[in-house]
Amino acid sequence: MIPLSFETIVYVGAIGLVVIGALGLVLCRHLFRMVLALVLAESGANLLLVLSGYRGGAIAPIIGFGTPGAPMVDPIPQVLVLTAIVIGVGVQALAVAVLVRVYRAYGTLDMVDLRNRMELEIAGAAGIAAPSSAQEPAGGRPLPPVPAFRRAGAVGRES
C-alpha cells in the first residue's frame, strides 16, 4: 500500500486532470466544451511538469531567499512550465477565435452537425455525392461508378 502522501495526491490529481480532459474531448459534442476539456488536460500536463521538479520541504529556487544551503526545488521544470503555459494560452485563444468564426458561419457549435455539414460542403465543392454518414444506413456500393469512357465503349472489354 502506497502511503497517501501529499505528493501522491497531487500526482493523481494531475493525471486525473489529463484523463478528464481526454474524456471530455472524446465524449463532448459541444465545441466550446471540447476547448474547455483541452484547457483541463493542459493544466494537468503543466502540473505534472512542475511536479517533476518538486522536492518535499524545499524552497523556491531564488538565490538569497530563505536560509542559504537549504534544499531548493528544481528550477528547470518551472521555467519549462512557464513556456508551456504561454504556448497553451496562445493555442486556446486561437481555438476560441476560430470557434467564433465557425459559430458565425454555421450558427451551431455541435461537433457532429458541423462535421457532417463540412463533409457535405467538401463533397459539394468537389462535385461528388455526399459521403455516407454514420447516422444513415449504408447503401449502394463503395466503388465509384464505371468511368464514362468505358460505358461509351471506347475501350474494349475490361481486362
Binding site: M34, G44, M118, A148
Partner: protein, 494 residues
C-alpha cells in the same frame, strides 16, 4: 559553425519584419520571403559542404549542454534542414501567382507569407535541435503557423477543419508534454545526448515505455500517425493546395525525424519498436483502404499519404542501420512524390470522375502524375521500388511474426495503391466533354522539377544509396552523438 542558427533565426526575423516592410514597399515585402529562403538554403548547403562528414554541435548562447540548448548537425539533420527552405520555395504561396490582382489584399499576403516563414523556422529548428523541450516549442510553433495557413481560404468549411485540427493537435501536444514530464521525472534532463546516456538505467521499465508511447502519439499528430490522424483528409481537402503540399510533404517528415531521434537515442528497447510497428501497420491498412474508397482527388492523396507514412514508421521500427536507411529512403521518396501530387491537386481539386480527359489538355501534368504514381507503387526502375524493397527486405530479415505480418500488410497496401492510382491514371487519359483546367504553370514546374529529381536519383541509384547509407550510419551512431554534444575537452566549444 555558429552560423547553424541562422536558418532558424533568419526566417523568424523576416516573418516579423514582413508586415511593416510590406506597408513601406509592396515589392520588397513580396521579395523578402523568397530571398530569405534562398539565403537559408545557401547557408545550410555551404555548412553541409564545409563540415566534411564529422557532426558538430552548437551550444546556443554559449551555455554548455546539458544546461544549455544545443543544436546538433549531422548528415540527416542537414538533409532535412536543406529540404525545408527548398520545398518552401517550391510551394511559396505567391510564386507563379498573378499577385496584386484586384481581389488581393497586400496585408493579407504579408500575413500569409509571415506564417510560411514561421513554419520554415520551426521545422528547421525541429531538424537541428538536440533538446527535447526545445523540440516541443518548435513543434508548437509549427503547429500554430499551420493552423493559420490551413484556414487561409477563409471558407466556413476550412474553419471547421482548422478547429478540429487544432483540437487534435493541441491534445497531441498535451500527451507529448506528459511524456516529457515523465522523462524529466525519471532522468532529470531533457538533453537528448544526456538522455541517451541515462536511458539504459532509468527508462527501461513500463514508465519509460509509457513516456515513449505518449510522445510518439503526441508528435505523431503532425506525422499522420495512426490514432490521431483524422484531421488529415479534411484539412488537405480544405486548405490551399500548396499549404497541403507543405504539410503533407515537409512538416510530416520533420515530425517523423523527431520520433526517429527519440527512437534511436533514447528508447532502444524492443517494445518501443514494436509499438511503432503496430501503429505503422494500422496506418498503412486504414490509410490505403480509405484512399481506395475516396472519390475526390485531394482526399485520395491525403489518405494515401497516411498509408505511406505508415510504411515510413514500419521501416524505422526495423531498427539498426538497415531500418534507418529504409526509413529515410521511404520518407524522402514520399516527400518528393506527395509534394508533387498536392502541387498538381491545386487545379485538379474535384472529384476523380471530373479528372476525365485531363491528360489531353495537360499532357505533361498527366505524364508526371503517372510517373509519380508508378514510383509510389514501386515499379522497378524508379526510386519507389528501391525504397519499398529496402523495407520488405528489412522486415523479412527481422523475421518476427509481427514483422512478417507487417510485410504482408505493405504488399497488400501496394496492391490497393496500384488499383486506385491506376484508376485515376485511366481516367486522366479517358475522353470527356469538359476536361478540368490544366495545372498552373508554377505548380507544373515544381512537379516537373521533383520529377526530374526522381528520375535522376533513380538513374544514379547506386551512388545515392551509398550516400544515404552513410547518412543512416551516422544517424544511428549513438556514441557519436553523445561524444559530439559532450566533447572530452571543452575546447570544441563554439
Amino acid at each position: 559553425m555558429s552560423q547553424l542558427v541562422l536558418p532558424v533565426v533568419l526566417p523568424l526575423l523576416a516573418a516579423f519584419l514582413l508586415q511593416p516592410l510590406s506597408r513601406v514597399s509592396g515589392l520588397a515585402g513580396r521579395a523578402l520571403g523568397p530571398l530569405t529562403l534562398v539565403l537559408c538554403a545557401w547557408i545550410t548547403a555551404r555548412l553541409w559542404l564545409d563540415f566534411g562528414g564529422a557532426p558538430f554541435s552548437v551550444a546556443i548562447g554559449g551555455f554548455i549542454p546539458p544546461l544549455g540548448i544545443v543544436f546538433y548537425a549531422d548528415h540527416l539533420a542537414f538533409l532535412f534542414a536543406l529540404a525545408v527552405p527548398l520545398f518552401a520555395l517550391l510551394f511559396w504561396p505567391e510564386l507563379g501567382d498573378k499577385g496584386g490582382g484586384p481581389g488581393t489584399d497586400p496585408n493579407r499576403e504579408a500575413r500569409r507569407d509571415a506564417l510560411v516563414l514561421l513554419l520554415v523556422a520551426a521545422t528547421t529548428g525541429l531538424a537541428l535541435s538536440g533538446d527535447l523541450f526545445n523540440i516541443y516549442v518548435f513543434y508548437e510553433l509549427a503547429a500554430v503557423a499551420s493552423f493559420g495557413l490551413v484556414s487561409l481560404t477563409g471558407t466556413a468549411r476550412a474553419q471547421v477543419a482548422t478547429l478540429r485540427y487544432l483540437l487534435i493537435s493541441a491534445f497531441g501536444s498535451v500527451l507529448a508534454l506528459v511524456g516529457i514530464s515523465i522523462l524529466y521525472l525519471q532522468t532529470g534532463t531533457l538533453n537528448l545526448a544526456q538522455l541517451s546516456q541515462l536511458a539504459p538505467y532509468t527508462l527501461q521499465g513500463p514508465l519509460g515505455l509509457a513516456a515513449f508511447a505518449l510522445m510518439v502519439i503526441g508528435f505523431g499528430v503532425k506525422a499522420e500517425l495512426f490514432p490521431l490522424n483524422t484531421w488529415v483528409p479534411e484539412v488537405y481537402a480544405t486548405a490551399p493546395a500548396r499549404v497541403a503540399a507543405l504539410l503533407a510533404g515537409l512538416v510530416s517528415k520533420l515530425a517523423v525525424l523527431v520520433v526517429v531521434r527519440l527512437l534511436v537515442l533514447v528508447f532502444q528497447q524492443p517494445e518501443a519498436s514494436q509499438l511503432l510497428l503496430v501503429l505503422g501497420v494500422l496506418g498503412v491498412v486504414t490509410g490505403e483502404l480509405a484512399a481506395w474508397r475516396a472519390r475526390d482527388f485531394p482526399r485520395m492523396i491525403a489518405f494515401s499519404s497516411i498509408g505511406q507514412l505508415g510504411i515510413v514508421f514500419i521501416a524505422f521500427s526495423i531498427g539498426g542501420d538497415i531500418g534507418l536507411l529504409a526509413g529515410i529512403a521511404v520518407a524522402l521518396h514520399h516527400l518528393l512524390v506527395k509534394s508533387a501530387f498536392f502541387g498538381l491537386a491545386a487545379r485538379w481539386n474535384g472529384s476523380l470522375e471530373g479528372l476525365a480527359g485531363a491528360g489531353r489538355r495537360a499532357p505533361l501534368a498527366a505524364g508526371l502524375f503517372v510517373l509519380f504514381a508508378l514510383s509510389l507503387i514501386g515499379v522497378p526502375p524508379l526510386l519507389g521500388f528501391w525504397t519499398k524493397i529496402l523495407v520488405l527486405v528489412g522486415l523479412a530479415q527481422g523475421g518476427a511474426p509481427l514483422q512478417l505480418f507487417a510485410l504482408a500488410a505493405v504488399l497488400l497496401a501496394t496492391a490497393v495503391e496500384a488499383n486506385y492510382l491506376f484508376r485515376v491514371a485511366l481516367r486522366l487519359y479517358g475522353r470527356a466533354d469538359r476536361p478540368p483546367a490544366p495545372p498552373a504553370r508554377w505548380d507544373l514546374g515544381a512537379a516537373a522539377v521533383l520529377g526530374v529529381v526522381l528520375i535522376g536519383v533513380s538513374l544514379a541509384i547506386s551512388p545515392a544509396a551509398d550516400h544515404l547509407r552513410q547518412v543512416a550510419r551516422q544517424a544511428g551512431d549513438v556514441a557519436l552523438y553523445v561524444d559530439t554534444v559532450f566533447p572530452k575537452t571543452l575546447a570544441g566549444r563554439d
